[in-house]
Amino acid sequence: MGNSKTVRFKIKRQASPAAKSYWEEFELPRHSGMNVISSLMEIAGNPVTRDGRTTTPVTYDSNCLEEICGSCAMLINGKARMACSALVDKLDQPIRLEPFSKFPVVRDLAVDRSVLFENLKAVKAWVPIDGSYDLGPGPRLTMQDQEAAYPLSRCISCCCCMEACPQFNEETNFVGAAAISQVRLFNTHPTGSALKRERLSALMGDGGIHECGYAQNCVEVCPKDIPLTRSIAEVGGAVMKQAIGDLFRK
């Protein structure tokens, strides 16, 4: 424990994707309301380690600073979470910051999370164009469907659910909870459901929904409280229905 007037950080650094990682410690004056991103900003303003060496500023992703853009996800004291909403007062010291362990490191705390984008493309997580001319207003969502869909639409693509999932790794190449939940969102949409069959078929591929072992870490870490385990169960049921139906139809 540092003295209570200061805050200590242990940060895992890596200069380039191929470089070796190493740890550096920093100590900052404590003030009220500071969070991990504001601390990283202070370090960038004065990049000097705890033992007085000048170093490079720590690279990290961030944008909105209000847990809505999804860019600042990292491992904070070992757990996947958003750095901008991680209040320093509530964290054990020294605060350990590491890049996500299952995504390629770009530099320091910044990682390449494009696998989620690829997965969203693979499951066609969009509403297709239903005509090349004005068809008038689209079909309405029922109140119940709106209420089920809205929480799913809050996903910020932070990838916390994937980082924390024991099944998401280079052995399984599991698609992860976020993309499965987006399948549920777009299958609920009256126009989006035109691609329903294709989305469910996609999830039967290698790395698909069957790789989930239902450890439920995803729903625990999701910063937007998205009901991911419910989505996995619902989409899992729809996938099974389609798979069994296809045994007779195809």
């Binding site: 200069a15 380039s16 994707p17 191929a18 470089a19 070992g78 757990k79 299952k102 995504f103 390629p104 490191v105 770009v106 530099r107 390449d112 494009s114 696998v115 690829e118 997965n119 693979a122 499951v123 924390a164 024991p166 099944q167 790794n169 280079e170 052995e171 399984t172 190449n173 698609v175 078929s201 996609a202 999830l203 039967m204 591929g205 290698d206 790395g207 698909g208 069957h210 790789e211 072992g213 239902y214 450890a215 439920q216 870490n217 625990e220 870490v221 009901p227 385990t229 419910r230 996995i232 169960a233 619902e234 989409v235 899992g236 049921g237 729809a238 996938v239 099974m240 229905k241 798979a243």
Partner: protein
């Protein structure tokens, strides 16, 4: 996304997890067969096995009759092979493969679901080694129970002469009950039977009760073997007979 920093060594750069191979491959089929095999036939056999053995509570005579009934089934070896041994072998070997490919992280994320995820692997593995030992001793060596049902009770009792064996039976019953009960819950969640959070919680209580019931039935059955005076095996029958044919 293009990496920004120096283009030093392109090798040993971590590639990360690959994207979904939409609609490609056979892992879905193999994994769903694994999932289903846990219920049918392996789970169904487990239920039958616990019920049949519970006949021990009604004495050696009733137990012998139940063993006789089972061994009198037509195609009994075929039923055993395709209904029990091969499905268990598939479920177990693919289960180890699933375990190997997962990356346990309860140290970082010590939550109930994550502990249960791990417990499903450990109880499966312990049950597997227990079953290998148990079938070797009772089915594939010593007096042949299928052709000598009257000696079945005594054969189990002889097994129980060793306190370590009794302990291993208790552990095996505990792990199989746990694994089956949580397996029921997992199956219902994954196959979209219990989709709602409340439904999953409610079914969790049901599975908890099923697990307890199995452990209780197992314990009472074990007690019957331990508390009944040692039964003699049929005279004139020694071990080492053909174990396949009746």
């Amino acid at each position: 996304m293009s990496a920004t920093a120096s283009p030093s060594a392109p090798f040993d750069v971590d590639e990360g997890v690959s994207p979904l191979r939409a609609g490609q491959g056979h892992s879905f089929l193999l994994r769903r067969i694994h999932s289903l095999s846990g219920i049918i036939p392996v789970g169904a056999f487990l239920v039958e096995h616990f019920i049949s053995n519970a006949f021990a509570t009604r004495g050696p005579g009733a137990y012998a009759k139940q063993v006789e009934l089972l061994s009198g089934f037509p195609f009994v070896v075929g039923l055993e092979l395709f209904g029990i041994w091969l499905p268990i072998l598939y479920h177990a070997l693919y289960g180890f493969y699933i375990w190997y490919r997962g990356e346990s992280n309860v140290a970082e994320y010590p939550w109930t679901g994550n502990w249960m995820y791990n417990s499903q692997r450990w109880t499966g593995a312990i049950a597997f080694f227990y079953m290998v030992w148990h079938t070797w001793h009772l089915r594939f060596s010593g007096i042949h129970i299928l052709s000598h049902p009257a000696s079945a009770f005594g054969k189990v009792q002889l097994e129980f002469q060793n306190p370590l064996a009794v302990a291993f039976y208790a552990l095996g019953i505990f792990c199989a009950s746990w694994h089956f009960a949580y397996g029921l819950w997992l199956f219902a969640a994954k196959w979209g039977i219990t989709t709602g959070d409340a439904a999953r919680r409610r079914f969790g209580y049901v599975c908890f009760a099923v697990g307890l019931l199995f452990m209780l039935v197992g314990a009472v059955t074990m007690y019957s073997f331990l508390s009944t005076p040692l039964q003699r095996l049929e005279p004139g029958v020694s071990g080492a007979e053909s174990f396949v044919m009746k």
